[in-house]
Symmetry: D2
């Protein structure tokens, strides 16, 4: 299914080289002011061609809103939108019509559907995430009126990571966009950038980790058992192309600890709010937000398309040499940052709407 969410829902469509991508945002609360430029700004952050370390494809990506907004405010009716595809080089892919590249979705789509649009990866292209960014940016318009802030950044690329003890909740969010990698530590960012350039020069690719933080959430969001807030966030993040791992709070590192080291002790802050001294739980206990910042990490594998000769397979099971042309990211991390933020925004707005419904 191509729908995300329960009450706030994005349903989307579109192939990499079709006429347009787009979607329908349903369940957006009414009366929220929409600043189209803020939405376009997020889309631009996802856009290829922003810097030397991302693909050169210049997509433009102007968002066209077709419904659901009247006199600058949401009406509660569905918001339809499209983003036209422009700068396509479909012929770059003609040699891939019948080829399944290694570690790509070519083979699995073929087995599932018996037919696929091979141009630019079709529906499996990360181009699809442009619709998520529109959905997330619109969700953010509602969230900002409630004091919820969401940001993500690159915390590791290959084996280059933020230093141990780096405070994940940032004092100054603006620092993220001061470098092309979107890493909040300038010197680490410089090393990452250098490394990516080297990888790109060899026609290779590299993976990494994005950290995402949500502040300003009230306690009480999420549902017990199957719709825990962490379940929804995990599903949101694992749905992004190339995501292979997810963790919340201390995550995998916490599982090697003792309970006596991991429990977050209570404290009452100066405003009389119940807080915890540490935040090993990552802001969620029993699947429900506790009012502390939600902190999570998403692992992205290296992009499968190398600008090197590789060996694919054709429908007859014969091996064929693949020489990808097209334009591809050596590292998805910088462009994944706004996608991660968008998925978080939609998840959290949905959780707020669901929570409202339960309060009698």
């Amino acid at each position: 299914m191509n729908t995300f969410g329960t009450l706030f829902r994005l349903t989307e469509f579109g192939e990499s080289h079709g006429p347009a991508l787009g979607g329908v945002i349903d369940g957006m609360p009414s009366g929220v002011e929409i600043e189209v430029e803020r939405i376009q700004h997020q889309v631009n952050r996802r856009r290829p061609g922003q810097s030397a370390i991302v693909t050169a494809r210049d997509e433009k990506d102007r968002v066209e809103i077709l419904s659901g907004v009247f006199d600058g405010r949401t009406t509660g009716t569905p918001i339809g939108f499209i983003v036209r595809n422009g700068d396509q080089h479909s012929n770059d892919y003609e040699n891939l019509r019948d080829v399944c590249r290694p570690s790509h979705a070519d083979f699995t789509y073929s087995r599932k559907y018996g037919i696929r649009d091979h141009r630019g990866g079709g529906r499996s292209s990360a181009r699809e995430t442009v619709s998520r960014v529109v959905g997330g940016a619109i969700a953010m318009e509602a969230l900002r009126t409630r004091g919820v802030e969401i940001y993500a950044y690159t915390s590791s690329v290959g084996q280059i990571s933020l230093p141990d003890g780096f405070a994940e909740v940032l004092d100054d969010v603006a620092v993220i966009d001061t470098n092309a990698v979107r890493c909040p530590d300038a010197s680490v960012a410089a090393r990452m950038e250098e490394f990516i350039k080297g990888v790109k020069g060899r026609g290779d690719t590299v993976g990494g980790v994005v950290t995402c933080v949500i502040t300003g959430l009230p306690a009480g969001l999420g549902q017990p058992v199957f719709d825990k807030l962490n379940v929804r966030l995990a599903a949101a993040m694992m749905s992004i192309n190339a995501a292979k791992g997810f963790e919340i709070g201390m995550g995998f590192a916490g599982c090697s600890r003792l309970g006596s080291e991991m429990n977050d002790q209570w404290i009452i802050d100066s405003d009389g709010r119940v807080c915890t001294i540490t935040n090993n739980s990552g802001g969620i206990q029993g699947g429900i937000s506790n009012g502390m910042p939600v902190v999570m990490r998403v692992a992205f594998k290296p992009v499968a398309t190398l600008l090197q000769e590789t060996v694919g397979i054709n429908p007859d099971g014969d091996k064929v040499t693949v020489r990808p042309k097209g334009r591809h990211d050596p590292c998805v991390l910088p462009r994944a940052v706004p996608v991660v933020e968008s998925m978080a925004a939609m998840t959290v707005l949905d959780a707020i709407l669901l929570d409202r419904a339960t309060r009698w």
Copy 2:
């Protein structure tokens, strides 16, 4: 919501110290033979009191099936079931009626609902997972007729892990239940067991990682974008109590690699089936199964309840000393194994049913 799945669906209910837990399994295909003893066997594997390293609470946990099975076969109508609660020591919890323990769901449930059944953790207790095991065991009855095999095992406890290069796809599944920790390497298992006993002796707890493997899946399961098979599996696993991380295939480790190291190269096996030499993708590409084994890992944090004095908070924001009585696991891993298997089974059966629907 307390429902899991789209076409194969488990809806469940029950508190730790109420009269019974149970649920409704909807969407089970008709005509499948049900062997009640196999279902009870899985429930027994989850049962407390099996060994010295799990809680001594003797729950018995007899599954009573109330509908949907006729003459030993499923009828396609919903399968209702209950598991009566027996051996409860509700008074052990009376002192916790108004206390929120650190890193527990007490505080968040109170904030969400304004009321909670404090006895034995109420709905937030891991006792709830008994219904998942029934659901998973019934899903398994259908899956076994299609050659799908699912197993999980403990791969790390604290800092004790299976050795590097351990082949995650096991030759002999029977080895898992030969020790109390459910770790497939006898000598590692012995060290884990020893370590857990030590932790238990100090009233402390410890976390770990469960690995889960699914073999025999056809290529083509899962959906593009939001309902990727890995998304469903992530949601399934992250919904289990104490789960804080999930990864598929190479997961977090893979994100520090280069694309040229990570791509899974094609090979045609002796039966003419398209396979890959490595399985860094963990059996899923573009969100859809490729026919290779699905391999994933779930991180469980240490149980929050220590048999030590800890400091909780009451509704007035005052700190209060908590002296847990009750009976608690020092390490959830051994009992989490059948729960992980169950969540995988329900997810995979649902994916098969969804896939059937798309084949015109």
Copy 3:
């Protein structure tokens, strides 16, 4: 699927002659007082054997609540319940094991599932509605705290109907239960009762219409387009066994009128509330409640099982004589009344919860 509702959801199970029926009510708001005797009272109104004109089967039907209620209040967690089957005469049905009776679900279930529990109609028996009544009665516990009142009554049996111009919104709801037919006009009720007795004496059955009224609803419930309040009510009512027609407001009669006759003119009542003089719309405009009483009608066909010899068909396509034993209603209307009320209650509570979520 055996789930009804979006946020307030009943998932149910059970066959006519299995051990028990029951279900899970999910999404019930927390903190609502539950008076078990009120729930049992509604179940008793649906119970067979209440009078000479309904089946003599004495089911007892004690509701057992298994979770979700603590100290007499709902906790927000799912409410599991069962109703044990008692007085079964399964042998009465042994001759029907391989027989498909005319106008029954025997044939269609067989074609769909290849197997069915033939005893007492299995899952297709109206016995299933006992779970709906439990769900509806629990929904009513929440609705009564908001001033919403729901009642239904028999408005026609065969060709005997309430007189033209009968005010469907009743002054005194208590009158409904003063006769066995549950018709609010005593003299019409007497004729209906007489007629049903005659029909029963001939081993025949008869259909009729139930009218349902909801008062006290705020304006604004329901959603545009596919989830209009009337859509949800239609689905709710058409899901009841033997329901073959649904109409809201003037319904079919209104479609032969002119617009100038049908439009409901505005009026401001003495409390300054916007009302309409007539209520041809039945309280819903554009799919959304307008604050006037919601009025609808449900047509029930005559029960298919006659206590006469009829001709069925067996799996080989041979015609076989059917001599039903068992106990059957000559007219479902009186017992359908609480089922209609229950479906309305669940629909309306769900609409209220959904509406809360949209109010930012």
Copy 4:
């Protein structure tokens, strides 16, 4: 929510006077040939301005498909589409900005959302149904490959109806479009047309009934209890603007009969297929198709907008005179016919996909 269906799903958006309407069709089986002209043909049948008895608004309504179709076949990925709004006279509605017209959605939308696009009825306009027709026409592309045929026609307008005993299952479907009313009896059609012209001349409107027939369905579609095929069809039809009643088979008329008159007797046809002599059940028993034609009727109330002076109400509760300009249908029936067919097509395709999933 603006989504219809479970596995085959239409999610739509759009206001009467916004830039475009459109939607996303998800779950369409892959590999189905799409003939765009057949889709456009159905859209044209819904288009205003086709004859003297429908509104003169010339909408053009070219369907633009944006994804999900490749080399003339569906790919299994979502089909996005838009229909641009053209010929709008938004100024005709300026005087209605703050006015709630009687029996319109103006008041209820305002109460629900606090804001509404008043131009041309905004989201509540029947213009929205253009997206349903696209969805239905695409569903029909799949259904035609399985021998399923769906047609609807006008069976009554005001008090003019098809004669008693008219065979609802038509020998020749082509007759429907031979007159402007889409009534399959030429002489009745002529009287209807005359009547509508008279009503139009007086600035009034009139309602009527559409009959819909589905042939070629296999036995076994639909689900027991809440998702009976008749439930889905009822929800589908009642979601159409101005629909106020729904019945299946004998419907309301059948509820005044005796069981002995209503039961459909079995017969084996010359191909050895199990059929029934009569079809009072309308092709559905126990909520599941029995292989006979599905026959249903939908009641449409007269359009609320009269081209007469009427009295509305403004936000201050003051009465105001309304003099509608715009262009409006005196009778929706002819244009409702393709909408009814479309809703039936989507419902039936969804039921087929759901049924496939249950067959193990």
